[in-house]
Amino acid sequence: MRPPHLAGPAAAPAEQDEAQALDDPRQDPPWDVIVWDDPVNLMGYVVFVFRRVFGFTEPIARKLMLEVHNRGRALVASEPREQAEMYVEQLHGYGLQATMQRST
């Protein structure tokens, strides 16, 4: 358990450390956004969605689409939770099977 903060000037460095820790991305590990294969979505449509949602170039979008197609899944982004949620929302909007999970 974290000890209580001391009042007064002596507490300042501790508060500063805590503020820095909150800003430290290592305290909020990223979430991986995974797109899963399914038998309905067209390959060209998946490339289109990847280009539109992530701004990928066509070769990158194609590579990831083929990874989904051949391996059943592809990691398409690794972001802080809020951004990962936005990607999942967008991908579900386009009908792709996308999930997020804590990055390992």
Binding site: M43, G44, R52
Partner: protein, 177 residues
Amino acid sequence: MRDTFSPHADGVRMHLRAGEASLLRSLLDELQSLLDDRLSDDAVIRRLFPATVTGDDDADREVRDLVHGSVQDAKVAAARQLQDLLGPEDERAVTTVLRDEEPVLVLGVLNDLRLALGARVGDEHLLGTDLDAVPPRELALMQLMSHLAAWQEELLGVLDPASLGFYDDFDFDDEDD
């Protein structure tokens, strides 16, 4: 050569024969009804609103609550907008120009319709290799899916030809590499 979607100076021209427009209206009605109810035990709804988080059921519920409401609203609005573009049922062909974001909207609605049909057919038949084993009803739905897929690819070819570039050098016989 198909002519359902073609380039137009102001966007994408959409041309549907009377029977095609009527069929699309009917499919959109069914989709809108399903989306309005959003019954969680319906296979179509489960497919249109899939899991959001893997490995953490609590987080999945949390993110579903957070994002699926707006996904539902967007899908309902898109289906309704396509209905409006088709106009009233009058047994006539439909020719209109899709402007601004409308081509993307139509592309997405066609995809939702195919996902809904696919959920009715079931993966067992979609992934199967023996068409003779598919019951007539499911086979008819699969043919309808193919028809909508052809529309989607035609629209993609107008909207973003690069997205179909993989066809140029994709080896369909060597997919496991």
